[in-house]
């Protein structure tokens, strides 16, 4: 995990292997950062759920081992903006379609209305964007009090 305090807004970044076992790590990170940056307990819990959904969307149907999953939290005036991106391996073209070697785990072929629909239901400003590396990303803003707790 890194924290950029050199200039501009406070930003935390976590990068993990894009494998399902790491989704719990992402939830811990998102919950802790949300609370630290002034989100309410309820909003922090919603952020954990949204992050879990975004991670699942990024992993299902793609190569489970390549590249990384990047989670960035950036403080804005009245929110913490989380951006979750599936980054391809270094040296590859982020615009190129990735390998699709993994199927959903057995029993999960019929996924309920979920994933991005859940993230959008939780946070109305949810966007699918390209992050700073050009990788496809899901971004959502979690309301926060104006001051960052020390």
């Amino acid at each position: 995990m890194t924290r950029d305090i050199t200039s501009g807004p406070v930003r935390f970044t976590l990068e993990v292997k894009p494998i399902p076992d790491r989704i719990a790590t992402v939830r811990v990170f998102v919950g802790a950062v949300a609370r630290q940056m002034g989100c309410s307990e309820e909003d922090a819990e919603d952020a954990r759920l949204a992050a879990s959904e975004a991670c699942a969307v990024a992993m299902v149907g793609s190569d489970a081992q390549s590249g990384s999953l990047s989670v960035t939290a950036e403080r804005t005036d009245h929110a913490v903006r989380f951006t979750i991106a599936r980054r391809p391996p270094q040296g590859s073209d982020p615009g190129a379609p990735g390998p699709t070697t993994s199927d959903p785990p057995p029993g999960l072929a019929e996924v309920v209305p979920g994933g991005l629909d859940v993230v959008r239901a939780l946070f109305a400003d949810t966007e699918t964007v390209a992050d700073s590396s050009g990788a496809a990303a899901v971004s959502f803003g979690v309301p926060a009090t104006p001051e960052i707790r020390s």
């Binding site: 399902p20 790491r22 989704i23 790590t25 699942a56 299902v60 996924v111 309920v112």
Partner: protein, 114 residues
């Protein structure tokens, strides 16, 4: 960090099988939940109570496992009741519009009619 442990325990209460699960359910382990439910249904227990009291987190992949299991249990003329549904899971059921799909009960005792 190791993968999350999903704790699963089964007991029989009259004509009901009660599956109690604890921990967090997500993409990494949701298949274990559907496997356990379908094992019960396949082994002579068409009436199943899923005790969610010790679940601390579930996302839509967990709900996907429940929907898949419910469908297969119903194909066997069985019943699946969710008992002691935590607030976080209730919220997810509401968001996904699945609140009306599942039979729910406040406690396991209520579900099995004790």
């Amino acid at each position: 960090m190791r993968a999350i442990e999903l704790v699963l325990e089964t007991e029989t209460r009259g004509s009901w099988a009660v599956l109690s699960i604890g921990g967090e359910v997500d993409l990494s382990n949701a298949f274990k939940l559907s496997d356990a439910l379908l094992d019960l249904a396949d082994n002579g227990h068409p009436r199943v109570v899923l005790n969610l009291a010790d679940i601390t987190f579930m996302d839509s992949t967990g709900l996907g496992a429940l929907v898949t299991s419910l469908k297969k249990i119903k194909e066997k003329q069985g019943t699946l009741v969710l008992a002691a549904v935590p607030q976080q899971v209730e919220r997810l059921l509401d968001i996904t519009g699945l609140s009306e799909v599942f039979a729910t009960s406040e406690t396991v005792d209520d579900a099995v009619g004790a």
